[in-house]
């Protein structure tokens, strides 16, 4: 997983509530057995018509936002299906940070496994960043994970909260599985205890 330290990038506004993971990447792109190359399916139905021709106007297709790496989105972003294809598609399209008033739990969790930083802020601050993001190519934000701070185009700063463990893993690009396997003795001990207490779980 790629580390996340600081990110200076254009932020694109996506002022819709309840953007579900079906909308982020529809089902026809879930048939892949790979985790790369999914950018082509990102927000597909908002970007392409029924014949697969590009539609005008979707924010990430506008020249000013083509290189956006930050999304400012409405509440409950990423609700619905657990498909990790959603963060994979966002990452493949260059998105490394999403700001909203709230995220659905599974999507939020999936972001951290892929080096994407989801930031939760109060509505007034998201509204402010949404206004900033409307400025097209000038909507440049700087996200500093170590300081837990977003700097706006005018130099104003916003602090954000983050779970310390998740921050640590993201800053260092750590592989969860390797970390967990360091605790193999504890897992062994748990299994031995469980076998005694609940032998019917042996499978």
């Amino acid at each position: 997983m790629e580390k996340f330290t600081t990110l200076r990038a254009v932020a694109a506004p996506l002022p819709m509530v309840n953007i579900d993971t079906d909308k982020i990447i529809p089902k026809q792109f879930l048939k892949t057995i790979a985790r790369t190359g999914l950018a082509k399916g990102l927000f597909y139905e908002m970007r392409f018509d029924e014949k697969g021709q590009p539609k005008d106007g979707f924010v990430l297709d506008q020249p000013a936002y083509r290189h956006a790496q930050i999304l400012i989105a409405g509440e409950n972003f990423g609700c619905g299906s657990s498909r990790e294809h959603a963060p994979w598609a966002l990452l493949d399209a260059g998105i490394r940070c999403i700001v909203s008033t709230s995220f659905a739990d599974i999507f939020y969790n999936n972001c951290f496994k892929n080096g994407i930083l989801p930031i939760v802020l109060p509505k007034e601050q998201v509204d402010m960043l949404m206004d900033d993001a409307q400025r097209g190519a000038n909507a440049v934000l700087t996200v500093d994970l170590e300081k837990q701070e977003i700097t706006g185009p005018d130099g104003g700063t916003i602090q954000f909260d983050l779970d310390p463990y998740r921050k640590h893993c993201l800053l260092n690009g750590l592989d969860d599985i390797a970390l967990t396997l360091e605790k193999a003795d504890k897992i062994d001990a748990y299994e031995a205890r469980q076998q005694q207490a609940e032998p019917w779980l042996a499978g």
């Binding site: 579900d20 609700c79 619905g80 599974i106 999936n110 599985i177 504890k186 748990y190 609940e198 032998p199």
Partner: protein
């Protein structure tokens, strides 16, 4: 004496392998369900890192999302779907994971077959790369959906890194009126809570109306917890649970059954246990429900009208309602019962169990599907299909003009050939009415199996209570 604990607290506490100072825990996972869509990249990850599944015996795999629901003897036409299913079979063979082949009578939707086989038991932690894993909470098991990275984590370590969720209790008091089913209860709950109302929580469903539900009904309720934002739903195990579990192929056998039962009886929340959030509904006030929009919270009673976006709680929701009405091609103020349907879909992990099919058969008997309506019935598993056929339900369905099919996820998410065409409108017993969910441009109205049957017969959304 220790403080009173909730059902969630008890399951959580008994699965903590280690705890960090900041409250992050490593929790043990008892059971892992695997399907073809969210697992290939996880198995690939194991191969790349040279890791092996820690406990292949604690996993169970099946292909459900991509499988055709028509004759399967010719295999799967769609190449990508076929490759995905073949990849699952190969991964399971390579890593020693039990797998129900597409031709196996036990094949079916992952959340139907777990309970059916007794793979799902009270007090367990159960995960699957699928958000509707919440279904298994009906047994008093902590069950939740995970992403593919976590699927790999569970395969490699049999654990997950988690922080405890908050406790919410939703109490449905009183008795549900005739014609009001588990599906109507959960739609009413989602309408009340909102699609993000359960975020960060595990929901325990309680109260007379919940206790009165069969296991099938309880599974329907817990299944849609995720549609209210909660990763998991729970219902305390009781005699209804134990009766359902006993004798299933993977359930504890005689000799172990008694000790398992004794443990399961300790699981219900202690008197005086506290919840971070409490919500109460009165079942007597709930009518058969339908969704009118493109979020599962967009719910109206069947006697109601399509709401006006002007009534929305805030600007964001107003814009969403407006967009929903345009997508659904509906006008604010129109009677819900005036909404005509082109298709009806009965099935899914929400409502693809035997009891759901019996309900449909009762209504379909001696009646006909309205001209111009295509009404599909997709059983949740091969065993559900066999059971229905043993009871003669298939004959009733076919006689009434329903299309009786092979088991799978089918048009709940339209990954196989079963999908809505642009502009088509469907009364569906599935769980999501998102834009494009059942096919691009398709319009979904979520309903109970009885309401789906009523819509099929009437040709429009209709009140099941009028069918008598």
């Amino acid at each position: 004496m220790s403080a009173p604990r909730t059902l969630f607290d008890k399951i959580w506490d008994s699965h903590v392998v280690s705890r960090q100072d900041d409250g992050t825990c490593l929790i043990y996972i008892d059971r892992h369900l695997v399907h073809e869509v969210t697992s290939p990249q996880a198995f690939e990850g194991l191969r790349l890192s040279g890791r092996k599944p820690r406990r292949p015996d604690a996993a169970l795999a099946v292909a459900d999302h991509n499988v055709p629901t028509t004759d399967r003897s010719r295999g799967i036409d769609d190449e990508e779907s076929r490759i995905q299913v073949e990849t699952l079979a190969k991964n399971c063979a390579d890593f020693g994971i039990p797998y129900y082949d597409v031709d196996d009578v036990r094949q079916g939707i992952v959340h139907i077959i777990g309970p059916e086989q007794g793979f799902t038991l009270p007090g367990m932690t159960i995960v699957c790369g699928d958000s509707h894993t919440s279904t298994h909470g009906a047994f008093g098991a902590l069950a939740f959906g995970i992403g593919t990275s976590e699927v790999e984590h569970v395969l490699a370590t049999q654990t997950l890194i988690q922080k405890p969720a908050k406790n919410m209790r939703i109490t449905v008091e009183g008795q549900a009126p005739l014609g009001v089913t588990a599906k109507d209860l959960i739609l009413a709950i989602i309408a009340k809570l909102g699609t993000a109302g359960g975020t960060g929580h595990v929901v325990e469903y309680a109260g007379e109306a919940i206790r009165a539900l069969s296991m099938e009904g309880r599974m329907t309720v817990c299944n849609m917890s995720i549609e209210a934002g909660a990763r998991a739903g729970l219902i305390a195990p009781d005699q209804t649970t134990f009766d359902y579990v006993m004798g299933r192929p993977l359930a504890p056998k005689a000799g172990q059954w008694e000790s398992a039962l004794a443990y399961w009886k300790t699981l219900p929340s202690d008197p005086g246990a506290t919840y971070d959030t409490e919500v109460t509904l009165n079942a007597a006030e709930i009518e058969p429900q339908v969704t009118w929009g493109t979020s599962p919270e967009d719910v109206a009673p069947i006697s109601g009208r399509v709401p006006d976006p002007a009534s929305a709680r805030d600007e964001g929701k107003r814009a969403a309602m407006q967009r929903s009405l345009e997508y659904m091609d509906l006008n604010a103020g129109m009677a819900v019962q005036d909404i005509k349907v082109d298709k009806v879909f009965i099935g899914s992990c929400t409502n693809g169990r035997i009891e759901d099919l019996r309900q449909v058969a009762t209504l379909a008997k001696g009646r006909k599907v309205a001209p111009g309506v295509h009404a599909m019935i997709v059983p949740g598993s091969g065993l559900v299909k066999n059971q229905a056929e043993e009871e003669g339900l298939d004959k009733i369905f076919i006689e009434a003009g329903f299309d009786w099919r092979e088991p799978g996820c089918s048009m709940c998410l339209a990954m196989n050939a079963d999908k809505l065409q642009p502009g088509e409108r469907c009364a569906s017993t599935s769980n999501r009415n998102f834009e494009g969910r059942q096919g691009r441009g398709g319009r979904t109205h979520l309903v109970s199996p009885g309401m789906a049957a009523a819509a099929a017969i009437a040709g429009h959304l209709a009140d099941v209570r009028d069918l008598g």
